[in-house]
């Protein structure tokens, strides 16, 4: 598999929620490309549409949500022989959410790990039963073989005594162990893409570090792509190769992880980076109190449609008459670095020249 092989592509995705109070444009024109074997980090505040983008990819958007527009394409690799393989193009958005074809992808080609390990498993069925279920569903194996595989996968997520853990109930495991079991469940059918929706947010930092290490090791072992969703830029720095920054249902900046931290271009990304507490800053100004920088204002009401750029009410570089008038287009400022901001469009250059 070449490093740049595209595994999944999201084009112009719009996922809306139709509520009594109005329409929430949770995902409002997102384009993303996930490459085989690589990690794409998605970062943004709560409610920016990260999770709904991920759920759209699996056609699991809960009602009253609906994929309104856009295309999601999944490139399934079919190994015919050792050397030769062909690609099978699947248009996910054309499949019915509960169709056999869609269910054959879920848990098998694409699987997902959720934020809350305590709630991800049913308390009254054993860990093993819940893992074996996915194995028996997607692979033609009998119960004994499925159990063998479940024990094997539990061992690979570094759970001690996997042959005992397989018969335990989720409530008998600690949070960290449970998240390992949930990851094992997601990996049980060797997926090509793992969507991780804030998998470490509910865990303490030590456990978080262990889970992140584990996921990286498993990624290399299984050669799978990861779509890593988080609000934590530190985790992004550690996990991702590519990063997409989301704000109000749109990707506002997308680049490789090094450029994002070295040369953030969107004012929102810059503000996010400034609001990370820095240890050396704290040391330098020991004794002197200084507040951590925050992004001023709040995320606007989700029912509203703002004219222009959705970040303009909070933007420190807001340009009157431009940002609040016209929605910015995506601009490629450097090769592979795109940003959705008027500071980089020709229009703003004119404004500044005046």
């Amino acid at each position: 598999m070449s490093a740049d092989q595209v595994l999944a592509e999201i084009k112009n995705l719009h996922t809306y929620f139709y509520l009594a109070e109005g329409v929430v444009r949770a995902v409002d024109g997102v384009d993303l490309t996930i490459k085989a074997g690589r990690t794409l980090g998605i970062v943004g505040e709560s409610g920016c549409g990260k999770s709904i983008t991920a759920l759209s990819l699996m056609q699991l958007v809960p009602p009253p949500g609906k994929i309104e527009e856009g295309e999601i394409t999944y490139y399934q690799t079919v190994h015919k022989t050792e050397a030769a393989s062909t690609s099978n193009v699947i248009e996910i958005t054309k499949l019915k959410p509960n169709s056999r074809e869609m269910r054959a992808i879920r848990g098998n080609q694409i699987s997902m790990v959720f934020q809350e390990p305590m709630a991800a498993m049913l308390p009254v069925r054993t860990v093993g039963a819940q893992i074996m279920e996915a194995i028996m569903l997607h692979q033609q194996v009998n119960k004994a073989e499925a159990r063998e595989r479940a024990i094997d996968i539990l061992a690979r997520v570094k759970l001690p005594n996997p042959d005992r853990i397989v018969d335990t109930y989720p409530f008998q495991l600690s949070g960290g162990m449970r998240q390992r079991a949930v990851i094992a469940m997601a990996l049980s059918c060797n997926p090509n893409l793992l969507i991780a929706d804030e998998p470490t947010t509910a865990l303490d930092v030590t456990t978080e570090a262990q889970i992140l290490d584990l996921m990286r090791a498993l990624q290399a072992e299984f050669n799978m792509a990861i779509m890593y969703i988080t609000h934590n830029l530190g985790v992004i720095a550690e996990m991702a190769q590519e990063v997409a920054v989301m704000y109000m249902g749109k990707v506002v900046e997308q680049t490789d992880v090094v450029s994002l931290f070295r040369n953030p271009q969107h004012p929102y990304t810059q503000a996010l980076l400034r609001s990370i507490p820095q240890l050396d800053d704290v040391m330098a100004r020991a004794g002197k109190k200084k507040r951590l920088e925050t992004i001023r204002g709040m995320i606007p009401d989700p029912y509203s449609i703002l004219p222009g750029c959705s970040f303009h009410p909070r933007c420190p570089q807001f340009m009157q008459g431009v940002c609040d008038q016209l929605a910015p287009e995506v601009v490629e400022t450097e090769p592979g670095h795109t940003v959705r901001c008027h500071l980089y469009t020709s229009r703003s250059a004119k404004t500044r020249a005046n």
């Binding site: 992808i105 848990g107 098998n108 699987s111 959720f114 049913l122 308390p123 009254v124 279920e133 109930y169």
Partner: protein
């Protein structure tokens, strides 16, 4: 698991003891006692009862002894000889009256509950999955009517319609010709012909409540993350619902089993009287009306004991269904 059951049974023993004492006190409460009643009966049938005969009767029934001794006599007869005393209403030993009726009572109540569950559980799950759909609104409306209309009233309407429009007699458990005959295939078929109505009517009473419980529980569970996780595995929607939220939502129904056995005895009395069934409920009613103390005491005791046994049964069922109870585990860490 076995130790859990044993532990549960041991805990029930003091409960049963307390129930028996209460039952005994209750049957002593009404004014007049068994001896005066017996004397009245003899006098009514033209026999003159002398003072000496009355004293003999008092001694015979132990009425001259203190209450605790009478209690001990009563309870030891029950435990050692299964002797609940004599029923004047039915002019048979109490144990015999109860045993005769026990079979029908048990069969009708069990089938009624099975009817309730098979109808209510799938409907409850369905309307929760399709919340706010037309089907949900219709079922909600019907269940509210079902909760409001008493079963005996429904029984009268059905009996009236069956008799006047279709000429079918629906009361009782047997047709006239089979009433006193020994058991035969014909009598069994006749029994089945008469049983469906009480089963459906008694069962219907529970349907509405069970649908409401199931729907509420399912709505809670459907929002849990494990449902999305199960969907993300690629399971079909039916398997997701049945194996995950429904698996947990069933628990309150299992704890409802606690009311099954006592309900057998006294749950459907009015309906049973209306339908003229030879079950336990109407016998209790007759006993209470006639101050038939041993009969009434036996009923109170048996109903209490059945409640205790059902509580054990439902706890065991819950423990089988939910390992958190089995392991005494606490959710979360």
């Amino acid at each position: 698991m076995l130790s859990y059951i044993i532990q549960r049974i041991i805990r029930a023993i003091p409960q049963l003891l307390l129930i028996s004492i209460l039952a005994f006190i209750i049957i002593q409460l009404p004014p007049g006692d068994i001896v005066t009643r017996q004397i009245e009966r003899l006098q009514a049938s033209g026999v003159t009862v002398s003072e000496a005969q009355a004293q003999a009767l008092i001694r015979q029934y132990g009425m001259d002894r203190p209450m605790y001794q009478r209690y001990l006599l009563w309870i030891s007869n029950i435990i050692t000889k299964f002797d609940f005393g004599y029923s004047y209403t039915f002019e048979k030993p109490v144990a015999q009256v109860i045993l005769e009726r026990m079979g029908y009572t048990f069969a009708i109540a069990l089938f009624a509950h099975i009817f309730t569950w098979t109808v209510a559980i799938p409907i409850g799950i369905y309307v929760a999955v399709k919340q706010y759909s037309l089907a949900d609104y219709i079922v909600t409306l019907i269940t509210f009517i079902g909760l409001a209309v008493p079963a005996f009233f429904l029984a009268m309407i059905i009996m009236y319609v069956a008799l006047t429009k279709f000429g079918i007699r629906t009361g009782g458990l047997f047709s006239q010709e089979y009433m006193v005959q020994p058991w035969s295939w014909g009598k069994f078929v006749d029994l089945l012909k008469h049983m469906w109505l009480p089963i459906i009517l008694l069962g219907t009473g529970g349907v509405a409540g069970t649908i409401r419980t199931m729907r509420a529980m399912m709505l809670d569970e459907l929002r849990k993350q494990y449902v999305t996780v199960a969907r993300a595995k690629g399971l079909s929607e039916f398997k997701v619902i049945v194996r995950y939220p429904a698996r947990l939502a069933i628990n309150p129904i299992l704890s409802g089993v606690m009311w099954l056995l006592p309900w057998l005895f006294s749950g459907g009395i009015i309906l049973e009287i209306v339908l003229n069934l030879q079950t336990a409920g109407p016998a209790l009613y007759a006993a209470l009306r006639n101050q038939d103390m041993y009969m009434a005491g036996a009923y109170i005791l048996i109903t209490g004991a059945l409640t205790a046994i059902s509580a054990i049964l439902s706890d065991v069922l819950l423990a089988v269904s939910d390992p958190r109870i089995r392991f005494g585990g606490v959710e979360g860490a």
